[in-house]
């Protein structure tokens, strides 16, 4: 029933790599390894994006997620010196609940997959390519207002991050003002 075409072989190998790196991220006891495995996961998902005709999103994934965000993560991990995670205590209620929820969702997905099998919709690898021009056209015409709002969100995030990490100076200034009184 399932004909193993080259496209399917590529998809299965990339998907296996994505799931394996996600599992490795989940169970790694070293935060740096977890971050690097997540970079691998983002890169494999970017490969899938390239495969299904989203080159802009794939490149944005690599530059924004695998590049910028994960470098920020690694920077904070090494700044705080929390590389090695301490062995956690006994298996609590949270772990049982999490295992239950996760297994239910995964089992449900596989069950639906086995029951329904081939869905009516299908992906054409390399087809329906949305090029950068089309994305830019949509962003600057139909989605102009949301696009402007994202710039505002980023501005607010930058100001918030600076304010949160500059606490000491503010605190010492408040202390000085109180000392004057």
């Amino acid at each position: 029933m399932l004909q193993l075409t080259p496209q399917l072989i590529i998809f299965f190998s990339v998907a296996a790599l994505a799931i394996a790196s996600a599992l490795g991220m989940l169970f790694s006891r070293n935060t740096v390894y977890a971050a690097l495995l997540l970079v691998l996961n983002f890169t494999t998902v970017a490969l899938i994006y390239f495969m299904i005709g989203a080159p802009f999103i794939g490149l944005a994934q690599i530059t924004i997620y695998a590049g910028a965000i994960m470098v920020l993560f690694l920077f904070v991990i090494m700044l705080l010196g929390t590389e090695v995670i301490a062995k956690h205590g006994p298996v609590g209620f949270q772990h049982i609940a999490a295992a239950f929820i996760g297994l239910v969702v995964i089992a449900e997905a596989i069950f639906v997959f086995l029951i329904k099998g081939q869905s009516a919709l299908s992906i054409i690898p390399g087809g329906n390519v949305v090029d950068v021009m089309e994305i830019g056209d949509l962003l600057y015409n139909q989605y102009l207002l949301p696009f402007e709002i994202t710039s505002f969100i980023l501005l607010v995030a930058v100001i918030g991050a600076i304010l949160l990490t500059k606490q000491e100076r503010v605190k010492s200034r408040i202390g000085k003002d109180e000392a004057k009184k």
Binding site: T5, A18, I19, A22, L23, M25, L26, T31, A35, L38, N41, V45, I48, Y49, I52, G53, A54, F56, I57, Q61, I64, Y65, A68, I69, F73, V76, L79, L80, T82, I85, H88, Q94, A98, A99, I101, G102, V105, I106, F113, G117, Q118, S119, S122, I123, I124, P125, N128, I135, L138, L139, P146, T150, I153, L154, A157, V158, G160, A161, L164, T165
Partner: protein, 102 residues
């Protein structure tokens, strides 16, 4: 026809999303929790792009772009919060952040 059924992408996305959810619930290091959160964003993005390809409509990819922007902003603020908490308490264990309980 060299096509891949849509359900394969959805199952991959569901598995990645539930792995991220498990990570958010079980781990106690906020950095790992944030990474699991990114994994969940990633799974949702994969679904968006897959449907965008299946329907031949570019709007899904625009939404992925916006999700990425919001995720970047969220990570910047979240990591700044983690740094601030670490400075104030010297530890970032989630279970120890219960000072508002009493």
């Amino acid at each position: 026809m060299n096509t891949i059924p849509m359900s394969y992408f959805l199952v991959l996305s569901a598995i990645m999303f539930s792995l991220g959810a498990i990570g958010v619930i079980t781990r106690r290091n906020p950095l790992v929790i944030f990474m699991s959160l990114e994994l969940m964003f990633n799974a949702a993005n994969l679904t968006f792009v897959a449907f965008s390809n299946a329907f031949g409509n570019a709007n899904g990819q625009i939404f992925v772009f916006f999700v990425m922007v919001v995720a970047a902003a969220e990570v910047a603020v979240g990591l700044a919060l983690i740094v601030a908490i670490f400075r104030a308490r010297g530890s970032i264990d989630i279970d120890l952040m219960s000072s508002m309980k009493n």
